[in-house]
């Protein structure tokens, strides 16, 4: 069964900390995505990558960066965490022959 694995289900971090959210997929997918989900706002795209070392800004990239050194791994970095980045973070991947995404289970991040 195909899988997208996010390293942490729950995280609590302090304001100003640098935070790394890791995502690994085992499907050899080219495309990977980071979303955040907030009540009443739905799923908003932060960054995506269509190949190793490639990245593109989504709709809300401010305060975030990403890294894709290997095809299977896509990391989201909060350079200096702030309370307004408290959210559910969702990683997804998509293969070139599909128009559907496979999502990970999500990371609930709380910044205090």
């Amino acid at each position: 069964d195909v899988k997208v694995t996010q390293s942490s289900r729950y995280l609590v971090k302090r304001t100003g900390e640098k935070v790394f959210l890791e995502c690994v997929q085992d499907m050899d997918h080219e495309n990977m995505f980071w979303y955040r989900q907030d009540p009443g706002l739905g799923l908003r795209l932060i960054y995506f990558s269509y190949d190793v070392k490639m990245k593109e800004k989504g709709d809300i990239p401010e305060g975030y960066s990403v890294s894709r050194e290997k095809k299977e791994r896509f990391s989201l970095i909060l350079e200096s965490a702030s309370t307004n980045q408290t959210s559910m973070y969702l990683c997804a991947s998509r293969g070139s022959g599909s128009r559907s995404y496979t999502f990970g289970s999500g990371t609930r991040l709380t910044v205090v």
């Binding site: 495309n31 995506f48 995404y101 999502f103 999500g106």
Partner: protein, 114 residues
Amino acid sequence: DQQVKQNSPSLSVQEGRISILNCDYTNSMFDYFLWYKKYPAEGPTFLISISSIKDKNEDGRFTVFLNKSAKHLSLHIVPSQPGDSAVYFCAASKSGAGSYQLTFGKGTKLSVIP
């Protein structure tokens, strides 16, 4: 500008009845539409999709209808079950450049009452 809209934030339905979730879109370039289901503290899971060359797609209790002229799609769940209680997201994509991305609506929370 919101290109995919789900205007009902929530919906309550009795068990055994039909649930109808609606979605509107504004971008005429969208040619593929998907529904995802999300439980709390889990990632969204793919439910059903439809290409713009069709007007209906069925999978068990789930049917999606597409009205291209109205730029409207709907998800029908018959009969509704308590386990269907979740947030449902409508999503759309287009072919060609930018086809990597799905554009999501804000979601509709469905509650199926036993």
